[in-house]
Each structure stands twice: as structure tokens, then as C-alpha cells.
Amino acid sequence: MNSLTRRQMAWRAAQDIEDGAYVNLGIGLPTTVSDFIPRDREIVFHSENGILGMGPAPKPGEEDKDLINAGKGLTTLVPGGAYFHHNDAFLMIRGGHLDLALLGAFEVSETGDLANWTTDDPHFAPGVGGAMDLAVGAKEVRAILEHVTKDGTPRIRKRCVYPLTAPHCIKRIYTNLAVMDVTEDGLVVREMVEGIDFPRLQNVTEARLTLANDWRPLAAPLV
């Protein structure tokens, strides 16, 4: 079975981002999606801490300690970028001004519920950051996550087990095994990797899946 690597998952999600889109990428795996945007597309990346036009990580010698991304890593500004304060950054999110938020997740349900902020682990204080704002605010919200946990537990659920970030917010799901859309009729598989058949995919998924008639193989270059 040709399960995608995490970089290949990011590559696949990047192919769907349209030219001209204003996009917020969540912390972690989603952040790497910006590495794989096709060169002929101009995408404006937004950061919660007051940046539009966020660029790649700085080259050695070009670091600026006052310029960080939402994950607190050093970043850069592209020509045409702008700075603003936190209220404006979240007005852009909550007010529906962003075309897309692509977020990591612990779980996604078959109705598009998202759980990505806490696992209720008593060893750690919970933190929510901007996750709930992004989930309810962007024009479209997509999730990118491994299909199952390290111990094989499905992450694509009938109902999320972990506390919700927001209900009914996810429209498309990218995993290492499949691309799925959340529809009125539940989860529809648009793409699945070669070497897995639909019964096997269903077997590692708690939510009920439907295979699209025009489904395609999910493949990504070795990135």
C-alpha cells in the first residue's frame, strides 16, 4: 500500500489551493504546505499574529527576532506583505475574509466536526490559540491528518471522541490514504492511494464512507 509521507500529504493539499487565495495554514504539518504551492500561483499567507504575505523561513543571516509566525518560528515577509494588530488579524479570520484555513486535527467526524485543540491529557494544560476562530471563520476549512493514530485507532470518526473545536466546519479531508469530501450524504472518497481497496479503507475508518463514481488514485511525487 502506497501510504503518503507527511510531505506528500502536504504536497497534495497544496495542489488544491487556488491562485489568488488568502490562506491561513495551521501550526505543524499544515505549515509545510506552503513549500509545495505550484510556482505559477500567487497565494497570500495570513498569520494570526498580524501578518499577510508571510514568506518562507529566513535564510541564515536574515533572521529578524520581531518577525515570527503563529508557531513562534522565525519567518519573512514577501513584497506586498503587511503588518497589523491582533484584532484585525482575527477580524480577517472570523469575518470570513480568508478563503481557506487548512488545519491539523486529532479527529474529524463524518459531519465535518473538528477536534484539534485538546486531548484532555491531565499532564498538560489545555491551549486553544486561534483554532476555534479559524474553524468558524474562514470561507472554507480543510483538515490534514494521518488516517489512523500510531496504535491504529481511526481518526475519521462517526462522532469525535475528543472535545470539539467547532461542529460542521470541515469541507475536505486529506490523509495519508485518501482525499475525502464532507457532503450532505456523509464522507465521499474522491481519491485513495494505490494498493488499498475500498473495503480496506473503510476498515480503518470509523465513519461510513462512500466511494465517488469518478474516484481517482491518490498519488504524489517523491517530495
Binding site: S47, E48, N49, G50, I51, D64, K65, D66, L67, I68, K72, L77, Y83, F84, H85, H86, N87, A89, F90, I93, R94, F124, A125, P126, G127, V128, G129, G130, A131, M132, D133, V136, G137, P163, L164, T165, A166, P167
Partner: protein, 228 residues
């Protein structure tokens, strides 16, 4: 004559009382007024309610106040940021209360506090644990949760440049929570990298007008209180 310049960090934080609600700016350590927070710690105040995006990084600034047990309650969106060991120790020991607020709700609650708005309905957190116990209301077919304003007794902020009227400019992503916190407190104290002559700041570039600012102190490479 208006002159908001302070000679020292100690003078800048003078009068803050135990039990105060302190708005602590910054996103992680960027834009955090570390030296002002250290000076506040040195005054001996306790029982503080701190409002911040994170709960301190390393051992200085907000982390230092938490480390010494001066913070009774923290209102923040994401307590565990880079090196949060002071908060973690206090939290695990049950020595600090945590009120978790979504980041956009946190900044909007302060904006409401600044703007004289008694509350607002927002869709963030509806149908989640963070909306439990709050009033829900349906408006034009969509459900919202009522959120109330936050005002500080004092705001501690950090800016790039200031003049003696307290007009402020910021640098890059160090702006973050500074403008809204500067607006939302009874007493706003700002540490800046550089003080300039009145009229030297481009009015088009002033991000916080001086009306919101009460005290300004220069902190340049660890030095304080320089007056031009």
C-alpha cells in the same frame, strides 16, 4: 506641557497594586515588555490577574511573575508556548487558575473593554466546552455566544518608538496585542526602544495614538530611563 517619559522602570510601574488586573502584551516573547514585567515583580505586588496570549517563556517577564507565585489567575489563549516551564510548574502544583479564551475572542474582549461595549455575540466556541455556562443567542439564523469585555487596571506594552506625547510605532510582528492592550487599561505603560522628538514620528505611521498611553520608558539593550 505633556510629558509621559519616565526616568526609570521603577517609576514606570509605580502605583500598581496587589490584586490588579494586568494586561501583558506579546505573542510568545515577541512584543513582550519583559523589563517592565521584571520591574513589576520587583515592586513585590501579588495576587495579580494577568491577561496575555501565552503564559510566559523562560524565566523572565511574565514567566518570572508566575515563577514567584505573584499571579493568581491567568486569562490566555495558549499557555504553553516556547519554554513554558514556570507556568507548567505552577499549574501542576495547583497554584495558578487558568481561564482559557480563544485568541480572537481574547483580543475582541479587550477591544470591547476599550470601546465602552458591554458585551458582544460571537460565533467562536459555540457548541464547544469553552462556551459552557455562557448565554447563547440565535441571530438571523446563526448561533452566537455572549462574551463580556476585559479591562485592565494596567497594561504593560512594548513598542519600537515613542514621543513624549506617547504616540507609538511598532516593528513587524511585535505589534500583535500591543495596540488593543494599550487601549484597554486604566493605566498604560509602554517600554520603547527609542524616544524621538515630538513631531518626528510620521503621523501616517503612528499605530497607537498617545491618548491611550500614560507612561513611556526607554529600554535599550538592557538600559533604562534615558531621556533625550
Amino acid at each position: 506641557m505633556i510629558d509621559k517619559r519616565m526616568r526609570s522602570l521603577a517609576e514606570a510601574v509605580q502605583g500598581v497594586k496587589s490584586g490588579a488586573t494586568v494586561l501583558c502584551s506579546g505573542f510568545g516573547a515577541v512584543g513582550e515588555p519583559v523589563e517592565l514585567l521584571n520591574a513589576l515583580r520587583e515592586t513585590g505586588v501579588r495576587d495579580l490577574v494577568c491577561v496575555a496570549n501565552n503564559a510566559g517563556t523562560g524565566d523572565e517577564g511574565l514567566a518570572g511573575l508566575i515563577k514567584e507565585g505573584r499571579v493568581r489567575r491567568i486569562i490566555c489563549s495558549y499557555p504553553r508556548t516556547v519554554d513554558p516551564h514556570c507556568f507548567e510548574a505552577a499549574y501542576q502544583a495547583g497554584k495558578i487558575e487558568l481561564e482559557l479564551v480563544p485568541q480572537g475572542t481574547l483580543s475582541e474582549r479587550m477591544r470591547a473593554g476599550a470601546a465602552g461595549i458591554a458585551g458582544f455575540y460571537i460565533k467562536t466556541s459555540v457548541d464547544t466546552r469553552l462556551a459552557e455556562g455562557k448565554e447563547l443567542r440565535e441571530i438571523d439564523g446563526e448561533r452566537y455566544v455572549l462574551e463580556k469585555p476585559i479591562r485592565g487596571d494596567v497594561a504593560l506594552c512594548r513598542a519600537d518608538r515613542a514621543d513624549r506625547w506617547g504616540n507609538l510605532t511598532y516593528r513587524k510582528s511585535a505589534r500583535n496585542f500591543n495596540p488593543v492592550m494599550a487601549m484597554a487599561a486604566a493605566l498604560t505603560v509602554v517600554q520603547v526602544r527609542e524616544m524621538v522628538e515630538l513631531g518626528a514620528l510620521d503621523p501616517e505611521c503612528v499605530a497607537t495614538p498617545g491618548i491611550f498611553v500614560d507612561r513611556v520608558v526607554v529600554v535599550r539593550e538592557g538600559r533604562e530611563g534615558e531621556k533625550p
